[in-house]
Amino acid sequence: MSHIHINVENLNFSYEKNQPILKDISFTAHENDAIGIVGANGVGKSTLLKLLVGLDLRFEGSIRVEEIPLSQETLGKVREKIGYVFQDSDSQLFMTTVEEDVAFAPRNYGLPEEEVQRRVDEALEKVHISHLRKKPIYKMSGGEKKLASIATILSMTPDVILMDEPSVALDPRNRRNLIYVLNEFEHLKMIASHDLDFIMDTCNRVILMDEGSIIADGDAKEILTDKELLEAHGLELPLSLYNE
């Protein structure tokens, strides 16, 4: 098991002056954490994840991954450890077939072809899409693309998984499958979503965000059952709790 952790201190970020997207964000994500980043649309969940993987380095404050400060010089090292799944699978998949796309990262890291194939097999197996191996990306359904996107980062054998709205476009069966896959992943994972039921099933810790700030950070069950807190920040109780 990896001992990776992410430390974020006083993180501020804006695309344009005087329009802050993230305000003074600080937290530490530990190796076994499964963190759900929740909040209404536009509170900065996706931006936070993108910053953690170094997709934009114009931030103030510090992000450290296993004590490595995130900067232009350390991007390569950091990205080897972190797998990021985009919100829109079409943005993630760009090769001809599923197999080619899943093999993209291991090949880029210069692994021998046998190892690449082993990782591709394993990643496809994990998300139960081995039968789609040779399927052209453009012929796949939304749910299939989502699972393929996840396989593309599993083949990197990352120490951390960051996911942006992973449950979007999944049918109930694939959704259950994804929950199972994520729960099997023993390392650090951070999931940005407003699907609170999904967060409840996969995370043990929740960071609630509103207007670019962290409002609450703590036990998933505690936060996700706090009706007042959720409603005060544009969310509602998970549907499963309404039914109880």
Binding site: V53, G54, L55, L75, G76, R79, E80, I82, G83, Y84, F86, D88, D90, S91, Q92, L93, F94, T96, T97, E100, F104, A105, R107, N108, Y109, G110, P112, E113, P136, Y138, T152, I153, M156
Partner: protein, 266 residues
């Protein structure tokens, strides 16, 4: 299947063809790239009236089509837009060049006519050679070969990304035109008043999507180099292939081989 879908399908088809496990596909990409450039250079160097000599150069595409088990019919279909354009390049030559270079019976053959056909053949052979390169070599391998000859990383990355973005642009076009047609039932094509916003949207969306794809490549270890190919070594067979073609094509360039062979039977 819509026209855009067909186009995406064709690109995907060529892409998967280039990754097949065939003898020609497995030749080192630098050798194939060199031979293609060398072939095009020889083709272009033929004199404008040297049609007989030029015909001999068909040996290379024929050989690669056969060896690569590629369909000539499919190639013609895929090149249906380009081939007519390259074919009409010399269409005005007969009007300007009235030099009599030969006679067929009592009919004088003008140099302009010959040079028109020569130009057509040159264009067709050049396009075919390029097609054969991309049909047997993946874009990553071509980029790798370009890096081997020290083409700057930024240019090679541009080439790779342009290739990746073609399908992205087409997919965006498809989405936008579908959205338009669903709200403009019974209308043929796109009304001129909607062209501006549609093209603008397409451009903006494609740029966004292209940005995302580049980011997706970067976070999966892409840095403009091609580490997978670094393990690809030129072997003896590849070098023999290169040498044989180098001398055969050179011989066909120097001598009108078909004419000589034909002369033996006259």
């Amino acid at each position: 299947m819509s026209k855009i879908n067909k186009a995406i399908y064709e690109i995907q088809k060529i892409d998967s063809m280039s990754k097949e496990d065939k003898w020609v596909n497995n030749i080192h990409p630098l050798i194939k790239l060199f031979l293609t450039v060398y072939y095009i250079f020889l083709i272009v160097s033929f004199h404008k009236y040297d049609m007989a000599g030029l015909f001999g150069m068909c040996i290379y595409p024929i050989f690669v089509f056969v060896l690569g088990d590629l369909s000539f019919r499919d190639a013609l279909y895929r090149l249906r837009v380009v081939l007519p354009i390259v074919s009409i390049m010399g269409i005005f030559n007969p009007f300007f060049d009235h030099t009599v270079v030969n006679h067929i019976g009592d009919v004088a053959v003008w140099g302009g006519v010959i040079s028109m056909f020569t130009l057509m053949i040159k264009g067709i052979f050049t396009v075919l050679a390029s097609y054969l390169l991309i049909a047997t070599t993946s874009i990553e391998e071509i980029c790798y070969a370009l890096r081997l000859i020290h083409i700057p990383k930024i240019m090679v990355t541009q080439l790779l990304l342009i290739y990746r973005y073609i399908t992205v642009l087409m997919a965006e076009t498809k989405r936008i035109t579908q959205a338009y047609s669903l709200r403009a039932p019974g209308q043929k094509g796109i009304h001129i008043s909607a062209w501006g916003p549609l093209v603008g949207q397409m451009l903006l969306r494609s740029m966004d999507r292209a940005d995302d794809i580049y980011e997706s490549m970067c976070i999966r270890g892409f840095n403009g180099e091609f580490p997978r190919m670094t393990k690809k070594r030129k072997n003896k067979g590849d070098l023999i292939y290169l040498l044989v073609w180098f001398f055969v094509l050179f011989a066909f360039r120097l001598y009108p081989v078909f004419e000589i062979v034909g002369g033996l039977f006259v």
